[in-house]
C-alpha cells in the first residue's frame, strides 16, 4: 500500500541530517608481530593513512576529510610524522643539524612512530575513533629505501605497525610538485629535495630526481602493501570525492 510505504520514508527524510552511521567493525592486523599485549580485536575505530610528498595536497585533503567525518558524527584523531611526545624535539634538532647517520635517523623515526602508535593511535582506535595519519610507515620506508636501507630490515622494524583500513598515496609528478612548492614557500626544503643523497648539487635538479625516486618507490611499495594510488593532479574536489567514497566503503565494512 502506497500510504504505509510513504510514511516511514517521510520520517527517514526528516531525520537524514541527524542520522549517524555506526561503522562496521572489521578485523585488524599488524604487519608483523605487532605490539606486545595488544589484542587487535578490540580496535573498533578505523585507521586511514594519507601519503604523498609536500605539495601533493595532503594537508588540504586531510582537513576536508576531518570536516566531513566530524560532520558525519565520527570522532577523529590526527597523527603524523615527528609528532610524538617522546622524541619529536630531538628528532627536529637532529634534522636541523643533519648530524645523524642513516640507520640512526631511521630508528629515530621508528621510535617517533611507535610512540604515537602506542600512545595515540591504538588507544583512539580502541575508543572507536577515526584516526587520520598524515603520512604513515610507507613514507618512512620509502625515504629509507631511496637511501639504500635494507628492505628486509625495514619490514621487520615496521612489523610493529597496524595495517590501516585505507591508505591513499596522492601521486603528483615532480614537475608539478616543484611548482606547487614554489607557489607556497619560495624555497625548496633540504630533505624534501633529497640533498643528503648527493644526487645533484643543484637543488632544483636534486628535488626533481629525488621526488621521482620517491614516486617509483611508492609504486613499488604499493605492490606489496596494496594501497590506493590517487591521481593528485586533479582538482581538490575531485580528489576528495574519491577519498570520501573509498572511506564510506571502509565505514560500511566493505
Amino acid at each position: 500500500m502506497p500510504r504505509s510505504k510513504s510514511a516511514p520514508k517521510d520520517r527517514v527524510s526528516r531525520i537524514v541530517g541527524s542520522s549517524v552511521l555506526v561503522p562496521k567493525v572489521t578485523p585488524k592486523t599488524f604487519y608483523g608481530h605487532g605490539i606486545p599485549d595488544i589484542d587487535s580485536n578490540h580496535l573498533t575505530g578505523k585507521l586511514i593513512a594519507v601519503e604523498g610528498a609536500d605539495g601533493s595536497g595532503r594537508s588540504t585533503q586531510i582537513a576536508r576529510l576531518v570536516q566531513w567525518l566530524e560532520a558525519s558524527g565520527h570522532h577523529t584523531v590526527q597523527v603524523g610524522l615527528k609528532r610524538s611526545t617522546l622524541v619529536s624535539e630531538e628528532l627536529e634538532q637532529a634534522q636541523q643539524g643533519n648530524i645523524l647517520a642513516r640507520t640512526t635517523l631511521s630508528l629515530f623515526y621508528a621510535t617517533d612512530f611507535a610512540d604515537q602508535l602506542e600512545n595515540t593511535i591504538l588507544p583512539a582506535l580502541r575508543a572507536g575513533s577515526m584516526v587520520i595519519a598524515d603520512r604513515y610507515i610507507y613514507t618512512l620506508m620509502a625515504r629509507d629505501l631511496v637511501r639504500g636501507v635494507d628492505e628486509t630490515w625495514l619490514r621487520n622494524l615496521y612489523g610493529i605497525a597496524l595495517a590501516p583500513d585505507a591508505v591513499f598515496y596522492l601521486e603528483v609528478c615532480p614537475e608539478l610538485l616543484v611548482q606547487r612548492v614554489f607557489a607556497k614557500n619560495q624555497s625548496l626544503d633540504y630533505w624534501e629535495s633529497g640533498m643528503d643523497l648527493g644526487l645533484s648539487r643543484d637543488m632544483f635538479d636534486s628535488f626533481l630526481r629525488y621526488q621521482g625516486l620517491m614516486r617509483d618507490t611508492f609504486r613499488r611499495l604499493q605492490q606489496t602493501y596494496g594501497f590506493d594510488i590517487v591521481d593528485g593532479e586533479r582538482s581538490p574536489d575531485a580528489i576528495n570525492a574519491e577519498l570520501q567514497s573509498r572511506i564510506e566503503a571502509v565505514l560500511a565494512g566493505r
Binding site: H33, P36, L86, S106, L107, F108, A110, T111, A114
Partner: protein
Amino acid sequence: MQKFSDLGYPGRLIAVEGLDGSGKSTQIFLLKRWLEMQGLKVFFSEWNSSALVKSATSKGKKQNLLTPTTFSLIHATDFADRYERQLVPLLKAGYIVLCDRYIFTAYARDVVRGCPPEWVRGVYNFAALPDLTFFFKASLDVSLSRILDNRPTLKHHEAGMDLNLSPDPYESFRIFQGRIFEQYLSMSTEFGFLVMDANQRIEEQQGLVRRLVSTHIDLGQFRLTRAA
C-alpha cells in the same frame, strides 16, 4: 652475523656483558688502562650514551612514557648513533674499541620486557658481532647485593618496575635481574661468550681478561706509532 674481523676491519671490538653489579665495568676499565699504557689505539664506548638520543631517553624514563617497544627502539637509536658515528669509523681506523654492553644487553632486556626475540634481533642486525665478548657471570645474589648495598634507591626502569613484577622495587629488581640472567645464559653458547667467574677477586679476573685478550688479538698491530 659476522664479527668485525670477518668483515675485514683492521680494528677489533671487545664487549663486556653481564648484570648490573657483575663487576664488568671495573674489568673493562682496567683492560682499557692496560691497553693504553702499552701505547695502543683504544677507544671506550658506553651503552646509552649518545648525547642527542640521551635527552629523549631520560625524558621518556622520567615521565614514564616508555613502553617495551619504544624502550627498545630508543636504545636501538642510541646504539645506532654510536655505531655509525663512532664505532665503525674507529674500527676502520684500526682501533681497539671497548664496549661496556653491546647488542646482547638489548637482546636480553627487550625480550624480558616482552618484545619478540626475532624482532629485536632484526632491529639490531645492522651491527656486526664483537670479536670478543666477555660475559661476567656472578651469582645473582652477589650482583644483587653489590647494587643494593651501594645504591639504595633504584630507578624505575632499572628495577624493571614497568613490568609490574612486584610493587616492591627491590623484589621487582631481583625478579627482573633473574630473568635477564637467564637470557644471558641462553645466549652464551650461541654467541661464544667468554664466560668469566665474576665471583672471583678483581685481580684474578683481570689477569685472565688480559691473557685472553692477548691470545685472541695480535696487540702489536694496534700501536699508535709504528716502530721504525
